[in-house]
Amino acid sequence: MNTKKISDSIWYLFLAGALALPFIPGGIGNTFHGHVLTMVLLYASMAQAWNIISGYCGQTSFGHAVFFGIGAYGAAMAVVQYNSLPWFGAPLGALAAAIVSVLISAPCFRLKGHYFAIATFAIVEIFNRLFMIWDTVGGALGLDYPILDDGWLNFSWSSEKNGYYLGALFLFVLIFGIVRWIESHRMGYYLRAVREGQETAESLGVNSTFVKLSAMALSAGLAGLCGAFFAQYNYRVDPPMVMSLDMSMKFVLITILGGLGTFWGPLLGAAVLIPLQEYTRAYLAHLGSGVDLIIFGLIIIFTMIRQPTGIMGLIRRFALRDEDPAAKDGDL
């Protein structure tokens, strides 16, 4: 069996299992592991959205909290300020996130290396502080959701959380599906060509500016959709919650831990880090605050020292051990 078939069968098996879960009693419902699984799917989707521009296209953005936040505010504004449905706010927020990302990136893509990274940090800080003082969007207090009827119309549930799980699964299928499609189509080759060598790609007729900007817009729009879900799930939104450097770093760390620029990396990273964080927070609380983040930090340090290609790099090393040794050089 070739790798494509193996990859396909893993993908469909995974989807079937994930879809069946809420219909098993105790599968999701109102359980704590239901919450953890929902978060795994959400963060995997966010990381995959980030992976499009930073993994496949090689433009490391530390600014995705801005796009995530704009999407979150899109949904929250529709519900809280306009008494409307999140179904209108979410796409508008995602669209706004995509537009903002293009406006920011067009000039910033000229910056190289650390200069680009620091510029994206600064942009997160600017947006964070602007939203803090912008009264229309609730300022520093943020937006609190009113009590709403349960159900798909308001996309809100107070006890049975199956709806949230299915929503996260929808995001997951959408974003991972898009990336699967991109990987095997012309756009995917363009993205990787720009990553491996922008000048070379241009000499072969690839319009690298267009490729980078469209990848950024897609990545930011999808991150915005995840943000909208996040606002619905938490029932509130405020700037430090969605538009902070820490949020930006989550996109980065999950993907890097799983494997940058790989299809399964974001899911693997989220499947390790999110349960770890949620369970340590729940079960190590007696050790005082911050223990979960200390462990998180130690894992990051250890990964960067021992296994910078992430879990996917580890899997590949084992999978390719008996095969073509030249394939090993393709690691990452």
Binding site: I118, L245, I256, G297, I300, I305
Partner: protein, 287 residues
């Protein structure tokens, strides 16, 4: 009107000098090794805690305990290099940055866990509450002392880089580490030393700051962001560039805070940075 202008100007310059001292170590590490030390702000926080606890338990004034903070942070910097940076350098472009981000999480949350998130301010320090008046503007003495220290430390650093054999070795390593190695420079030791010196600079700053600023686990976050911006604005490892950029950032902060609104001052700071960097992508003094 005139006096408030002078006040804002002097405040901006003093703050800028302090930022320059915070950024100096970061700039040096970046310049020599092309590494962003993401835990830089947390190093500052650790330096503040060192001098706070020495002041609290041993009753030593920050005016003296900055020495201990500097030494402690020199060691912390060197250990960070040995354990984290050396093992993540060259593996991927982002590995050292993300590894030091992990370190910043560990340091911040360790202090959160041990020392609680409370704000801690030393009372009864020698310089506490002292002010002097310069042409109608009132300056806080502890801040003035820290700013003067910044000038001295930056001067010593610049002199060391330009005039001593060690400084030449550091410069040679920064330009081409392989060639430097062939000339008999132990680049490994240079890196260790650069990380140590970078830590010591920020430790001294933190040690002095406790005489007028409260210490808490999150105190480093804003300073580290400003330090990143200062270094990127000044350009790649240039100490004079960092000084000039820090003064510019300090002035933008105080003028926008006073003449526009206090809440927009950091928006202005980061916006000015973005505006400059788009015109000069490698900073004011970058090459």
């Amino acid at each position: 009107m005139m006096s408030s202008f002078l006040q804002v100007l002097l405040d901006g310059l003093l703050n800028g000098l302090v930022y320059a001292l915070v950024a100096a170590g970061l700039s040096m590490i970046w310049g020599v090794m092309d590494v962003i030390n993401f835990a830089h702000g947390e190093f500052l926080m650790v330096g503040m805690y060192v001098s706070y606890w020495i002041g609290f338990f041993l009753n030593v004034d920050p005016l003296y305990s900055w020495i201990a903070a500097g030494i402690f942070l020199f060691i912390l910097g060197a250990v960070t290099y040995r354990l984290i940076i050396r093992n993540s350098l060259g593996k991927s472009a982002m590995a050292p940055l993300l590894a030091t981000f992990g370190l910043s999480m560990v340091l911040k949350n360790f202090c959160m866990n041990r020392f609680t998130p409370n704000f801690r301010l030393l009372s009864g320090t020698i310089l506490e509450g002292k002010t002097i008046s310069v042409g109608g503007a009132i300056l806080s003495v502890p801040q003035l002392v820290t700013a003067l220290f910044a000038l001295v430390v930056l001067g010593v650093l610049y002199w060391m880089l330009k005039k001593t054999r060690l400084g030449w070795a550091i410069q040679a390593t920064a330009m081409d580490s392989e060639a430097a190695e062939l000339m008999g420079i132990r680049t490994e030791n240079i890196y260790l030393l650069v990380f140590g010196i970078g830590g010591a600079c920020v430790g001294i700053t933190g040690g002095l700051m406790t005489s007028y600023l409260a210490v808490y686990p999150e105190v480093g976050s804003l300073f580290s962001l400003i330090a990143f911006v200062v270094v990127a604005l000044g350009g790649f490892g240039s100490i004079p560039g960092a000084l000039l950029a820090a003064l510019l950032i300090g002035l933008v902060e105080s003028f926008s805070g006073f003449y526009v609104a206090a809440v927009v001052k950091y928006v202005a700071v980061f916006a000015v940075y973005i505006a400059v960097i788009l015109v000069r992508p490698r900073g004011l003094f970058g090459w």
